[in-house]
Amino acid sequence: MRPRTASRWLLGGLLTLALAAPWLVPAYRTQISFLWVMIIFALTWDTLGGQMGYNSFGNVVFFGVGMYACAVVQRDAGLEYFPALFLGMAVAAALAVALAAVLGSGLLGLRGQYFAIATLGLGFAAGEFASGWDFIGAGSGMVTPLYPGEVGGRESFFYYLLLALTVTTFLVLRRLYSGRFGLAINAIRDDEDKAEAMGLHTTRYKTTAWCVSATFLGLTGAAVGNLIGFIDPRDVAFAGPTFGVWMVLMAILGGKGTLWGPVLGAAVFHVTQELFWTYLLGWQRVALGLLILAIVLFFPVGILGWARERWPERFGHTVDERPEPAEGGS
């Protein structure tokens, strides 16, 4: 099957490039690390927003929870750097999933814009609570421990850590979307009442989808906290107006409801933003606002969505040859 081979080649090529990047352009390691973060953001947002039709502005909560959880473990566990970091990441993922399960049971019952607004409120509330809580440094934030190794070692370490996370996220989501789970959440997006009437446990699927997102966001948060080195409750951990909204924009820009769309959207968005940042001193946010408007007004279906409308035969080809779901039942 040709498209599948093409997909393999594409993935392999990109992966090789990504693995080699720290040697090719060592000065850009941190920036590309943030590209991985952005891709994870967009991919995990799309699980709910694109595939399931639940537009969340609050996914950043799991990112922040992961960040704080890991930092607290690193501070209080009394372990060496690496054991503490990995334990912290495990705790971060666990907490994020637990939170997603609890929140999901309540919030995922809301429909349409009410879900979007409730999650928006959730994101802000989390930031405000974090900045009032002395145990995690309140408004003064937290500083993560210094990386023990050589100069540059930290950048490479987190680069590969985040790359590994991105690839895992991508592969896990690809696997999930191609199976029963993907069909179920797509059904929820297309008509939730009908899906429920067909006997689908919608709440269970919705909560599971959020938990999957939360796992990767929690892990990413843990890593990013260490990458940045300083955790501010509102501007780094629970950064709703920046990270929280960007994840939505990137997914929409690339094409929501597709697998490659969020990846593409994140890459384009991140690079554009970096360029604005470098060349439009002080005016970069104005440009960003214009960019957001342009994305939303002219590309509401995203780059891939647009391409699909433009060259349907290419995408149609893919549809016809879609392989059978890898797994049968369950």
Binding site: N55, G106, L107, G109, L110, G112, Q113, Y114, A116, I117, A118, L120, G121, L122, F124, A125, E128, F129, S131, G132, A138, G139, P241, V245, V248, L249, I252, G282, W283, R285, V286, L288, G289, L290, L291, I292, L293, I295, V296, L297, P300
Partner: protein, 299 residues
């Protein structure tokens, strides 16, 4: 809790908190009413309410600098913002009217960043105030103080609210707006120019926010980044009060203002904002369960 104790020791403080809350709540209500109007008529959610408030504030501030009393800045800000809102509709908003609600949220979020940053670049980030020169009244031995400017702002908010009500009920345009809100298609068939109605509605929203902003500049302070709390509070009020009724919106606004003030007093200022956001989530959840119950009841 010592703060609670304080309230029991001096119950008169409740009056102060209530009065302050109600007076600021009326200003929230203005912005909220604009949001409800646009939401109801056009099915568009505007995230840039706070930025309109900010622009109205700067209008009043620059007029004040030019020697105009800030109170006269209120109608001028409203008029300018009406024109601005109209233009914005023609340039941007018309593209999102018939689309997904979520797209309108994102588009106006883009607008809000744009306006914020433009204001920062053009007016500078300094905190500004427009002095009205009004005095402060005090009661109960100075324990309760009410500055006249807040009362003026409150009355002005009421006047604007009533004017809006009359406009919607009596004027041709107001009737057209209401007709469009009820059924845009039917209105179009009956000869209503809905494009004009939409533009006017969006202009009206901006004008309401502009008036609120002028009052804010006179009573508190303004800076380019002040928008977010006003947007979020508008949301909460609209969700609580629904889209239809000016009086209910006003009541919800004042209630929220008071609740927030009490929260700030009892929990400490650090949890004041957290309280507001948590309340938003709680209201939505409550609304869901309440609606869910009534639905079951109807069965």
């Amino acid at each position: 809790m010592s703060n609670l104790q304080l309230l029991f020791d001096a119950p008169i403080l409740c009056v102060q908190l209530l009065v302050d809350g109600i007076l600021i709540g009326a200003i929230f209500a203005l912005a909220a009413y604009g949001m409800a109007l646009v939401w109801g008529v056009m099915n568009v959610v505007t995230i840039c309410q706070g930025e309109f408030v900010m622009l109205g504030g700067y209008t009043a501030y620059f007029l004040y600098k030019a020697g105009v009393h800030p109170l006269f800045g209120v109608p001028i800000a409203a008029a300018l913002l009406f024109a601005f809102g109209w233009a914005l509709y023609r340039a941007v908003i018309f593209r999102v009217v018939d689309g997904d609600l979520f797209i309108s949220i994102l588009a106006t979020f883009g607008l809000s960043i744009l306006l914020q940053q433009l204001a920062n670049q053009l007016f500078g980030a300094d905190v500004r105030t427009a002095e009205s020169g009004f005095r402060t009244l005090f009661f109960f031995d100075g324990m309760v103080t009410v500055s006249v400017v807040k009362i003026v702002a409150f009355v002005a908010a009421l006047v604007v609210g009533v004017a809006l009500l009359v406009f919607l009920k009596r004027s041709r345009m107001g009737q057209a707006i209401r007709a469009t809100a009820q059924n845009a298609r039917a209105a179009r068939i009956m000869g209503v120019d809905t494009t004009r109605v939409y533009a006017a509605t969006f202009g009206l929203n901006a004008a309401l926010c502009g008036a609120a902003g002028a009052l804010v500049a006179m009573t508190w302070l303004i800076h380019p980044y002040l928008g977010l709390p006003y947007t979020v509070r508008s949301f909460m009020i609209v969700i609580l009060a629904g889209l239809g009724n000016v009086a209910v919106v006003l009541a919800a606004g004042m209630g929220l203002g008071a609740a927030e003030n009490f929260a700030g007093f009892l929990l400490g200022a650090e949890y004041q904002a957290a309280f507001v956001f948590a309340l938003l989530v709680a209201i939505l959840l409550w609304r869901r369960f309440w609606l869910g119950r009534t639905r079951r009841y109807l069965k």
